[in-house]
């Protein structure tokens, strides 16, 4: 049995930042648990640039961003357990884990930070009919094969879904000599950031087909082709619009889901909208002393946002471990109102500024006002797009007198 102040599960951008901030916040024994053989999480395979523009004012690639955080962590004396798979987590903050080096571990932590990230939706999550040949990959798996293992997953590639990883992989596979036939998106707007449409598709003349989906996969041993159909306003395939495309590979970039198997074991309440823990502005979950950050909480667009939640989770986890959490345990709900599909966090406990991350329900390509009531704050933005999270801050001072739930709405100006 080991005892620590703060245990952080996962060493991607959220976990690394949380561990650094838990240390800087005064926690003496901080432990970082990582199931892979290296720190850095998914950043290691995200070799494109565009990371840390806001946080570090630098245009890093994923591995550079990770290495900067890892070097910072090395200065702190945080103990890192690699190749360590956490298998259990209880509400009284006991972690069970397995590692080839240390065997079965039992760790009691005064506070815990969940930073397990998210996983990709797969073919069964979207139910594409057809055969089950080799050659169907999620975009992130293909990214790992190309960028870390040095394999090209195919030569003639169709991409279903226009999430950012799919767009990034369209460019990457083209550079590596594969032919990317097109990206097909069931919605009538793209899933990924606009700049990725430009830099990854337009730059390489890869077509994006909105309101289209894959309705059949063909091939016995290996993918031989797919059938593409147009979809109507209800996202149902339009009969007669089928078109056969020859290809050897289908990549899926159809969304990410926070990975909360451990959170459930600890009895953490999950939000149906974000699929992550119900969280306060201090990143504390419904279980006292268990904190959450990054994509296990809700899927963010930018690593800067992930790191911001990691910093808060680490700092408040340290305060909790040191018994220095101030104030009473009162809190109010933060509620998604009109035109808001996803809202994070969902509770406010009067300890810090309220930084809201908001995903709009529908694209609005004109100026909007984000209303936070109470206290009646109105924040203007030039547009609201479901594929680009909005972030707004309401200062703590403005919220001191709030008694009822805080409603967040997006209105056209």
């Amino acid at each position: 049995m080991m005892e620590v102040d703060v245990a952080v599960i996962g060493s991607g951008p959220a976990g690394l930042t949380a561990a650094i901030h838990a240390h800087n916040g005064g926690a003496r024994e901080v432990m970082l648990l990582e199931r892979e053989e290296e720190l850095g999480g998914i950043l290691k395979q995200c070799i494109h640039n565009g990371f840390g523009l806001e946080q570090f004012k630098q245009d890093y690639t994923g591995p550079e961003y990770a290495e900067r955080l890892i070097k910072e962590l090395e200065q702190t004396g945080v103990q890192c357990f690699l190749n360590t798979l956490v298998t259990g987590l209880s509400s009284d903050r006991v972690i069970t884990a397995l590692s080839p080096e240390h065997g079965a571990l039992e760790i009691t932590a005064k506070s815990i930070v969940l930073a397990m990230g998210c996983r990709e939706r797969t073919r069964p999550s979207i139910g594409i009919p057809g055969t089950r040949p080799a050659g169907i990959f999620t975009a992130g798996v293909a990214q790992r094969f190309v960028n870390i293992d040095g394999y090209l997953p195919g030569k003639k590639i169709v991409i279903l879904g226009s999430g950012d990883i799919g767009l990034i992989m369209a460019r990457r596979l083209t550079l590596e000599g594969a032919s990317v036939i097109g990206v097909y998106e069931i919605m009538d707007y793209p899933g990924g950031l606009k700049r990725n449409i430009v830099q990854c598709l337009n730059d390489f003349d890869i077509p994006l087909h909105l309101s289209h989906t894959v309705t059949e996969i063909k091939g016995r041993e290996r993918v031989e082709g797919v059938v593409i159909s147009k979809v109507n306003g209800n996202l149902r395939p339009v009969p007669g619009s089928e078109q056969s495309i020859e290809c050897d590979t289908l990549l899926l970039s159809v969304g990410l889901i926070p990975e909360n198997e451990l959170s459930k074991k600890a009895g953490v309440e999950l939000s149906p909208a974000t699929k992550g823990p119900v969280t306060s502005e201090t990143m504390e979950t419904s279980v006292p002393g268990i904190f959450t950050c990054g994509n296990v909480s809700t899927v963010f667009d930018l690593v800067d946002y992930v790191a911001q939640t990691g910093a808060a989770a680490g700092a408040f986890a340290a305060l909790f471990a040191l018994g220095q959490v101030s104030g009473s345990k009162q809190s109010v709900d933060v509620v998604a109102g009109e035109s808001v599909r996803v809202l994070f966090p969902q509770r406010y406990s009067f300890q810090d500024d309220l930084v809201l991350f908001i995903r709009a329900a529908e694209p609005v390509e004109k100026p909007v006002t984000i209303e936070v009531t109470p206290p009646g704050s109105r924040i203007n933005r030039l547009y609201a797009r479901p594929n680009e999270m909005l972030r707004v801050k309401v200062p703590k001072e403005k919220l001191a007198e709030v008694k009822q739930p805080i409603m967040v709405r997006i209105r056209e100006k």
């Binding site: 290691k44 640039n49 550079e64 870390i148 040095g150 550079l175 449409i197 730059d203 680009e388």
Partner: protein, 123 residues
């Protein structure tokens, strides 16, 4: 050159302004749709020569992984990407390599160096 109309999406920041430009090959005659002045420099460069940072991998021996990520240390002409990728097929590094080590100096005489974007210890 005759007067030409072109459409751009600015990638300088996440707003992604849609910009309509009319130019005559030597100067911009009109520009509409951009919400700030940063787009002007972007569009001017796009009209002359679109520049991007190339990120890819090259082979490496003696390390845990068979490839290592690399990038150009500044933007290079986009049209050179296919030629650069062909040249980089022949690069083979030996571990250990440190992050920011120069892998190829002055790649295709662009003035840009190709640098490693992670540390790869010897195993």
């Amino acid at each position: 050159m005759a007067v030409e109309k072109r459409h751009f999406v600015c990638v300088v920041c996440p707003v992604g302004c849609e910009i309509d430009v009319i130019h005559d090959g030597s100067k911009i005659l009109s520009m509409a749709g951009n919400k700030c002045e940063k787009s002007e420099e972007f569009v001017r460069q796009e009209l002359i020569e679109p520049m991007r940072i190339l990120t890819t991998t090259v082979r490496i021996q003696g390390s845990r992984w068979p490839v290592i990520p690399v990038r150009t240390d500044k933007a290079v002409p986009k049209r050179l990407f296919p030629r650069m990728m062909r040249q980089l097929r022949h690069v083979q590094l030996q571990a250990p390599v440190n992050m920011l080590d120069v892998v190829v100096r002055d790649v295709l005489r662009t003035g840009a160096n190709l640098i490693a974007t992670r540390t790869m210890p010897r195993e």
